[in-house]
Amino acid sequence: MLKNRIIPCLDVKNGRVVKGINFVDLKDAGDPVEQAKIYSDGGADEICFLDITASNENRSTIYEVIKKTSEKCFVPLTVGGGVRSIEDINKLLNCGADKVSINTAAVQNPKIVMESSLKFGSQCIVVAIDAKKEANSWKIFTHGGRKKTGIDVIKFAKQVEEYGAGELLVTSMDRDGTQKGYDIDLMQKISETVNIPVIASGGVGNLDHLVEGITKGKVNAVLAASIFHYGKYSIKQAKEYLDSKGIPVRI
């Protein structure tokens, strides 16, 4: 039976983790490689790096992070943030990323999804969607949630599926950072619309939120950042909790 995945996400800026795990045994709380290793040793099903480096000059720092992590962690690595072109994707894959998530570039030019999935295979192309609720629908936001596009989320999700996206990473802008839980309606609507796997993101504050994402939101994987930071919950605790609720996870 296919298991539901738990994916911790690390925000990386200029090659350093922004909000890190504050474990006593950590030599360097800002080292993404060391943190990724803790997550993978703890049973993370996949590790996600979100590169939030603002300037182009420091963009190359993420390549070094991926290269070093992939030499130590033998679980899938997904990288997103600032991916603009086929060349960016190629570089990240060559450094050891297994999947690359495309956000703003996929909205501005959906053809990049088609081109990249043909070139590298759908299995490594994730489209990240930042969604905000407006009246009775959700609209896409780009540039890290700063720019409104007016594009309908559900229509866009169908379109990128057709273009060959292997997976969708859906973040609710309304919930992100609130710790109130995923936007369940949004997750459910998208999961039922597309036939590719959906990863839920944005808003997790406790372990019940992970459960709801899977049982009510019908997603295949749950991504969270802050609950795993500062050691509030370990990956192992999260998995054991889901297992106790009857949700199939890899333990």
Binding site: F74, L93, G96, A97, G166, P197, N220
Partner: protein, 208 residues
């Protein structure tokens, strides 16, 4: 001992390289090349594969003499070869991804799209699934039945002779996830991304 990972432009193979180097440490020499002479003189070969069946077969055919060299290595000389993901799928006679494409024909069978039961099951099949070991296989030495492996694929290998199947998984149907025929080994899952247990399988292959 020399283990060669065949670098034939089949997509992203850095994870395969990293995992084999991790397991080999300095005891075994890991080569990454498409050089025919180096392949011929290797002790073992790894055939990775990402993207579509067609793109991988095309990539093999694009390197002059590579298919003949692989045939000589695996079929005539019967030296150990491990196919991973599309690397395994290419063992088949024929694949149906994109368009009908001839495979290597090493293990009789075909590669078809996984039945998603009218959209009830998502494709690609991505994530960790438990393997059901149905036959003793050298690469499963000390691997417990029902171990979790990492998968990402939309197509499945359907061999004619069911005796070659060494493990299956339950998804929409019973899917072949590992095959073995003499010196030929193949996994649909990615041992290089399957954590410590995946590295153990790689170790078993290296130590055959």
């Amino acid at each position: 001992m020399n283990v060669t990972i065949v670098d034939y432009n089949s997509g992203n193979i850095s994870s395969v390289i990293n995992s084999f180097k991790e397991v080999a440490q300095n005891k075994v020499n890991i080569e990454v090349t498409a050089d025919l002479n180096k392949i011929k003189s290797s002790d073992k070969i790894v055939l990775p594969g990402q993207g579509s069946f067609k793109s991988c077969v095309d990539a093999l055919n694009n390197i002059n003499g590579l298919v003949d060299t692989l045939n000589e290595f695996a079929i005539n000389n019967k030296k150990p070869l491990l196919g991973i993901c599309v690397g395994l799928q290419m063992f088949a006679d024929i694949g149906y991804e994109e368009t009908e494409t001839k495979g290597l024909g090493w293990i009789s069978g075909k590669v078809s799209k996984i039945d998603n039961k009218n959209g009830k099951y998502k494709l690609p099949h991505i994530g960790w699934n438990q393997i059901n070991i149905v036959k003793e296989s050298k690469i499963f030495k000390n691997i417990e039945n029902n171990s979790h492996m990492y998968f990402v694929h939309s197509y499945e290998f359907i061999p004619k002779d069911k005796n070659v199947i060494s493990a299956t998984i339950d998804y929409s149907t019973n899917i072949v996830c590992s095959a073995e025929k003499g010196n030929l080994f193949g996994t649909q899952f990615h041992p290089e991304k399957s954590d410590k247990i995946g590295l153990k399988i790689i170790n078993n292959f290296i130590n055959l």
